[in-house]
Amino acid sequence: VRAERLKGHLDGLLLAVVASGGPLHGYAIIEELRRLSGGAFSLPEGTVYPALHRLEKQRLLTSRWSTDAPRRRRVYELTDRGGQALGLERQAWSTFSGAMEAVLGGASWTTV
């Protein structure tokens, strides 16, 4: 899936990944996104960090330096506000994908 197609959905995807995996560092978030999407969502990895920083600024994520690993590592967690935003995002996506499916998936295609 091309990166342009993910525009507008990236924030929701990142919130969902962080919600599913607990405190995660940037690389783990990207790997988890790739794994959950079966390799379909492969973004320029460096451009995910500005999105993570923005979500943190919007107080949807919170981050801290973790010292569990041998190297100092920044890990991200979902906030309550982020959980609410994710709920809204899921609701909006459900409506949208249902409508798309009804139009694109439900139509009977005739071959000539």
Partner: protein, 363 residues
């Protein structure tokens, strides 16, 4: 471990990042961690050599200038919205102060800057500042949820802000001069003190807005050096104002009185005759027609407001009053046209538009 490739990339990224120092250090630490993990994974998974794995990790991470630009865009967009909020706040405060000092007789009598050249500067500044701040606010509101904005669009927002702020600063400066020069007490001293405090407060707010604006300009300058997408055709002030009108309409929905008024306006705009007129005028394609329409409205409003404030005169004085109203209205209309000629291009209202679209039928 030989990590020369990653270290070299991080040097490049450091040079490209135009962000505050603290953020830069954090971004570099995260990138460093990411690239080391990714290169270890690739070396193990693809059975690649250390250097090849580092190159592959960097390729997946993205070019340093692309990553740095994305951070720059995030900061520039946030900075532009902040600047617009600050300038809008200052402009509203300035407009309220100006309205109080010129329209309320008791306050006007006590005001050191409600007459003479100070008032003339204020009249001129308040109108331009209000229009420019409103345009920028409409643009900022329209792009509020956009994560990335082209430098072009950010530039229009910040130029509107800067122009509004410039006129507020000039007018407040003139007001402060008036306060210093006209120290003789006129009107109620309490009201004069309130006005002086008010001007001081607006001056402080304006100073704060100047700082916010300067920071936003700095971020835009850092961003503007990279290749930029052009604004799409038809993407102009009318689109901004249409978005503003739509949002105001949504906010008014269901509110008694206001909701009915909005519905009446929408019904009027959707009438076939109005649509035909809009298509005929094609204001997107002809910005000068837009200017003349606005000038006409402004002139009529100015003339009518003069008549309203003057009250109903004896019949014999009606022609004189009408002539004064017509003269004031003409001056106002002329001022709008001159301002449009001088500032329209700078603010992105009057742009060279080789491919502006017709107004769509459903707009």
């Amino acid at each position: 471990v030989d990590d020369r490739v990653i270290v070299s990339y991080l040097h490049e990224l450091r040079a490209e990042l135009r962000v505050p120092r603290r953020l830069r250090e954090r971004v570099l630490a995260e990138a460093d961690d990411h690239l080391r993990l990714a290169s270890v994974d690739r070396a193990a998974g693809e059975d690649a050599g250390s250097e090849a794995a580092q190159h592959a990790a960097i390729a997946a991470f993205g070019r340093a200038d692309v990553v740095a630009t994305r951070f720059g865009q995030e900061l520039a967009v946030g900075g532009a919205h902040r600047a617009t909020r600050a300038v809008s706040g200052v402009t509203v405060a300035f407009c309220i102060l100006f309205a109080l000092s010129t329209q309320v007789p008791a306050v006007r009598a006590a005001s050191p800057f409600a007459s003479g050249p100070y008032a003339a500067i204020g009249w001129f500044a308040v109108q331009i500042a209000f229009v420019c701040a409103a345009l920028s606010w409409a643009r900022s509101l329209r792009h509020r949820d956009d994560r990335v904005l082209s430098a072009d669009k950010l530039r229009w927002i910040l130029r509107g802000d800067a122009t509004a702020l410039g006129f507020v600063v000039v007018s407040v400066g003139a007001d402060l001069v008036a306060v210093l020069r006209r120290s003789d007490p006129v009107g109620a001293p309490g009201l004069r003190a309130v006005l002086v405090v008010g001007v001081g407060a607006v001056a402080v707010l304006a100073a704060f807005a100047v700082v916010v604006q300067a920071l936003a300009h700095g971020r835009l300058r850092a961003l503007a050096r990279v290749a930029d997408e052009a604004s799409s055709p038809g993407d102009d002030a009318l689109s901004d104002l249409a978005t503003l009108a739509r949002r105001l309409g949504q906010a008014a929905e269901g509110r008694p009185g206001v909701g009915a008024l909005v519905e009446a306006i929408v019904r009027t705009v959707r009438r076939p005759a109005v649509r035909r007129l809009a298509l005929h005028l094609n204001l997107r394609r002809h910005p000068w027609r837009l200017c003349l329409a606005v000038a006409l409205c402004a002139g009529v409003c100015m003339g009518l407001s003069h008549d309203a404030t003057a009250g109903l005169p004896p019949l014999a004085q009606l022609p004189g009053l009408a002539a004064v109203a017509a003269l004031l209205g003409s001056i106002e209309a002329l001022a709008v046209i001159v301002c449009f000629a001088l500032l329209g291009g700078f603010l992105g209202i009057r742009r060279p538009e080789p491919g502006f679209r017709q107004i769509p039928n459903d707009s």
